[in-house]
């Protein structure tokens, strides 16, 4: 097993995979992309990612892309040897985890990625922040986190025990804390705050963001 991850080191999509690799205790080599042109070549489109995107993971000869597909692959292959259960074997428990994975894709990620695109990506590239987009993102995420506050009543994690679903929420939360003035959206809701604090204090998270 020789794992190589190609990606922009600070990109949330790359960090999502790095976090999974660290949770599973897997050694890997990170090959940083420094010039975006290198992922748009004919060779890259044919052999790595037809949409010219990263991250791409190579596990010996097997090549896989799309961060959530990569994470699922790593979990399927290596979870049983690691000391952690990210997707339970029990069908009913796994399906509840899938429910919360779907929340992350449908409700949590879209508004936060809108905010972070403005606050991180635009700022880094010297472009103006569209405050209207940030405002709309904040309005949307506030409603979502109101629901999460109820879901997390009496629970440390979404389906009770730590799972891939909780794991997937970490990267955007880290982005909000590290690069914006909006961490209050988590801090002012006691159950959400407890949950996010647990996620951010995990060893794998600290290692990923060190």
């Amino acid at each position: 097993m020789a794992i190589k991850l190609i990606g922009f080191p600070q990109s949330p999509n790359t960090l999502r995979v790095v976090l999974t690799l660290n949770e599973l205790g897997l050694p890997f080599e990170l090959e940083p992309v420094t010039d975006i042109k290198t992922i748009k070549t004919e060779d890259f489109l044919a052999n790595k990612h037809p949409f010219g995107k990263v991250p791409v993971l190579c596990d010996d000869d097997f090549v896989i892309h799309e961060s959530r597909a990569i994470c699922r692959y790593l979990i399927s292959k290596y979870q049983k040897d690691a000391n952690i259960v990210l997707i339970p074997d029990d069908l009913n428990k796994a399906s509840i985890v899938e429910q919360y994975i779907s929340y992350e894709i449908s409700y949590y990620d879209p508004p936060l990625s809108k905010i972070l695109y403005q606050e991180v990506f635009n700022k880094r590239n010297g472009r103006p922040v569209d405050e209207a987009v940030v405002k709309q993102g904040l309005e949307e995420i506030e409603k979502v986190l109101d629901i999460y506050e109820k879901v997390l009543e009496g629970k440390d994690y979404l389906s009770g025990e730590y799972s891939f679903a909780d794991h997937l929420h970490t990267v955007r939360a880290q982005g909000i804390y590290a690069a914006t003035a909006y961490s209050d959206i988590f801090e002012k809701r006691p159950n959400v705050k407890r949950w996010i604090t647990n996620l951010r204090n995990r060893d794998a998270c600290k290692k990923t963001y060190a």
Binding site: H65, I70, I105
Partner: protein, 159 residues
Amino acid sequence: GKIPVLHDGDYKIAESRAICRYLVSKYQGKYNNTILIPNDIHEAGLVEEFISYEAFYYEPPASKIVYYELVLRTPESEIIKQALKDINKILDVFDKLLEGKEYLNGEFSLADLFYCPCTHFIYSTHADLWDKRPNVKKWWDRLRNRDAWKMSLEKKNKL
């Protein structure tokens, strides 16, 4: 406060993609030979790539077209124009990926199935996007001629 929600005996699950995965995990291979998520880890990984494309590249523009054209009925909106551009780019890539293949990962999988609902609606007003790309056209024709899809539409039309 969203639907669909599935009840299977006493078990309840929401979120359409989670419901589909639950059904696949529990029932795949039990009533027929259709395999929607391969058992082989590497093949499953490749199917997951196409599932990810659908969730993050296809669904966002596709659902905008469905919403603005079918629900709001404002077909000239700038949003629809941009969404159609995005769909065109995706289908360009798919036309290459489907070269020599019947389905996205070779054999029919959950990934192909996920594209059906939005495509069904958009095809009614923008068929040329699929019809002008030979591999994509064949793929969509295969999908919409599957018995399961036809049965699903019959059930929907009866509701």
